[in-house]
Symmetry: none
Subunit: 524 residues, 2 copies
């Protein structure tokens, strides 16, 4: 068997806290996994609940390019005939060619959790697998808790595998269900298994020790041919092994052609797709696919990376669909700022050395006051723009006011705004869920007839950070606002002792930046 990738995002992954995938979510994820080049997609446990059953019905209509759908189940119940176990029968009705059967590989579990004799556990495995093979199915056997089981009672653990092999299993998957095994233990154990049982082996790792990727790599080195995991490392407790870390490692570092180069470039989009569908927040510092994975901040790093990216990047970001980013921060200097401006389209020749120096000085001064342009690039660009050329703002704020009134333990907020837009005076009032929301509503109300494109964007995140932590609400606050339209998102910043002022500044920047893009002001 060649190497195969097995995704259990929809089954094991969905056991993670806070994850609840709808049927539609699962089908859409299935489509993406198939396109990406995943060989096996474990869709669920049809015997466990109607939602999982429904998945197997619907997925048959999907016309997948490559992936095989796998139905999952425990072995037959103790002291029950396999042909009477509805769990198992549902596998036959699931319309799949591949099933995964799990059973205990650890005597402790058999005795204390299942509470059956060790021999009965073996019989359950034998009966189930033979039955399914007789019915024409391919059977993957998952030896649950295998590694802990081997450490506790190696003879029994191996007996479990042998039983499955003799009953006709097509693959023996060794599971580190508690996620705590060490790489050196994986190596010793798999060597022993391979020396005694002539069967293909798969690996199913969990990340409780932050060693799931390492353990899967050892399994690969010791001859495992199938690797089970989830996209983004979703799953119970600390999750399953993250396929987004494992796949690029095996493909780019061990030279295994698991998916095509073109498919590998879809790795980061796949991660974002699954993460967003599961309503989770993408992790920026995630290896390979995180937003910050190839982001350089320290001045020395930036300067070196501009000369030769290989100096600070272990792989080329484009190979996994990611990109290099350079941050402007207090650690940086001239290189960072220039890189950033060039990146957004400024022609650096338009900047005299004097203007550059002025800009850097301003950036450092503002950063000392608490501004953070890192991650608030829209504000940085606006600042550069305001210093540069004859820049005419889209509007002029005269003043504003916001009130919050509490009655009967409920608070209502309203804002009033006076401004000038395209030479017309505007005086607007609006309500909101708090003073900043009220101001945002006011601002948009004021601008929408002049700039209808305002409606395409909305505020998606609002962060407050108190600086000089000793003095609570009387200290300076830094507000970061993230705004998004259909294609992209941008972040702006405001700093002040007054939180409303800081929020307002960030809000103004967020709208002004939108208009800058939309009105097509040529930056070059």
């Amino acid at each position: 068997m060649g190497l195969t990738l097995y995704d259990t995002t929809l089954r094991d992954g969905s056991q993670g806290e806070g994850i609840a995938l709808s049927l539609d979510d699962k089908l859409r994820i299935t489509r993406q996994l198939d396109r990406f080049g995943i060989d096996f997609i474990e869709g669920g446990w049809p015997g466990s609940n109607p939602k999982d059953e429904a998945y197997f019905e619907e997925v048959q209509n999907m016309n997948l390019e490559n992936a095989k759908i796998v139905a999952f189940s425990s072995a037959r119940h103790p002291n029950m005939k396999v042909e009477e176990d509805t769990n198992i029968l549902k596998l036959l009705e699931a319309g799949v060619d591949y099933v995964a059967i799990f059973a205990k590989g650890w005597d402790l579990h058999v005795k204390e959790a299942l509470q059956v004799p060790l021999q009965e556990n073996l019989k359950m495995i034998e009966d189930t697998i033979s039955f399914l093979k007789e019915n024409g199915l391919n059977v993957f056997f998952d030896a649950e808790h295998f590694f802990d089981g081997y450490l506790s009672n190696p003879e029994y653990a191996l007996k479990v595998l042998e039983t499955a092999a003799e009953a006709g299993a097509d693959l023996l998957v060794l599971c580190d269900t508690n996620g705590g095994i060490l790489p050196s233990q994986v190596r010793t154990i798999i060597k022993d298994v391979k020396s005694k049982i002539d069967m293909d082996i798969g690996m199913h790792a969990h990340n409780d020790g932050e060693l799931a990727v390492a353990n899967s790599i050892v399994a690969y080195e010791e001859g495992a041919v199938q690797f089970q995991g989830t996209v983004g490392g979703l799953g119970e407790r600390c999750g399953n092994v993250d396929l987004c870390s494992l796949i690029p490692t095996l493909q780019l570092k061990y030279g295994e052609k698991l998916v095509t180069d073109q498919q590998l470039k879809q790795l980061k989009p796949l991660y974002y797709f699954v993460t967003e569908t599961a309503n989770l927040i993408p992790r920026n510092n995630k290896p390979y696919v995180g937003k910050s994975a190839f982001t350089h901040k320290g001045g020395i790093h930036v300067s070196a990376v501009r000369k030769n990216p290989h100096t600070y990047e272990h792989i080329e970001p484009e190979l996994v669909g990611n990109e290099r980013r350079v941050l402007v921060s207090e650690l940086a200097g001239k290189s960072n700022l220039l890189y950033k401006l060039k990146e957004v389209g400024f022609d650096l020749n338009d900047f005299s050395d004097e203007v550059i120096k002025k800009l850097i000085k301003k950036v450092k001064k503002l950063e000392n006051q608490g501004y953070q342009f890192e991650g608030a690039e829209a504000s940085l660009i606006l600042m550069a723009f305001r210093e540069f050329k004859d820049y005419n703002s889209f509007f002029e704020i005269e003043d504003f006011r916001t009130n919050s009134i509490n009655k009967d333990n409920h608070t209502y907020s309203e804002a009033v705004l006076k401004m000038t837009v395209k030479k017309q005076k505007v005086h607007i009032a609006a309500e909101g869920d708090g003073p900043v929301n009220a101001l945002d509503n006011c601002f948009r109300k004021a601008l929408v007839s002049f700039y209808p494109e305002i409606t395409e964007s909305k505020l998606i995140d609002y962060k407050v950070r108190v600086l000089n932590g000793n003095d609570g609400t009387a200290a300076k606050v830094r507000v970061l606002i993230e705004t998004a339209d259909l294609e992209k998102s941008w972040t702006t910043v405001g700093v002040s002792t007054n939180i409303i002022q800081a929020s307002w500044d960030a809000l103004v920047d967020s709208i002004e930046y939108l208009l800058l893009i939309k009105e097509g002001i040529r930056i070059i």
Copy 2:
């Protein structure tokens, strides 16, 4: 040399995107790291900026129990005399006994990034280390990019180490600066280094391949004696190795006594402390210290874990200061709450089963709405108190109002409050730096003549978190307020769609809690 832990959260860690630690943050983290049992704390690079310099001045007044502070720097500049390099001279002025010097271990870097001859690089290392040794310092040498350098040009990489050793370095730290090395490569390389150079070795791993922990473990297995990393794996790109994963692995699985058992129990609190201080969101599925690390959801898991936790947990959560959580289980909820109440002094016999049930139900309901009592225990206690006995509040709020007015780009805030205290009606106005500060001032103004002890406390931190991240300022917000008097601090929470309401609720709790303590209401 026994095994030592080396933390670089303040230096390498702070190079992570979005991380900007103030001087105060750094000192507070230093205190926690010292208490935890960290041996070396890399405080910064005094020659690089005034903020880092200031750290070294201040930290000298801290009276640490155990940790040694380390000052970091590059080797001397090319073509400059070491005694004329202000970078190096600042190390002498930093008031430390330990310094860490880094230099290139990879010929590619020397030639393309530094652009100096290979020999000069060696001279830089030799001069710098000898100079610092002559000045009585302990010197750790960081061979930057060592593993990539060894793969590219092993002779040169080893020459770099030998040069450092001969110049008197006390420890050679091998750095996987790009974070992409594989565990099997680490093993081969370190074996070779140990066979050729008779020196103590340290390991400095990065997580770009999700292998930092595995690589550090291999280094340990091959005889490394010092492990450098950050709390929570902060750092540039994908971060440094996470000490919160590495330490428990070495201590609990390899039996190395790196810190005391008592200190190890502070691992989770340490993670939360550093994460919150850096204004990051704690990751729930983080190995060992994540909120979900020992959380069981699947029905089978829950049932097994109640019979024998060893069945689904690779270590006992209490060992690292974490706890088992079982979702959808009233029984687990009950023990947590009772434990908490007992911890703060309630006599549990005073609570009828009915009141307990009522409390748990309320906690769960509030948590579903976004409340987070973990870390906001004062609010939890107040809630228990309000349900319990005949509790008479110290005051009754009628209503309040807060306005912020912006004129000439400056915002002024004011609040007006109506309440009843000790049967007297009070109607107060106050100004402030924002609506919440104005309300806080108002509240205190109203209470101070009745409860003069109010003045002993002040608000020291104010945090806002937007929940349901999709909708910016119109979403629910959770406000955490930290208040402190001379002896202790306490945190309270408020949740609402309106940020003023949420802030107000947290504010009221913070004052009420203070009065509860001060007025000597006996909890037992």
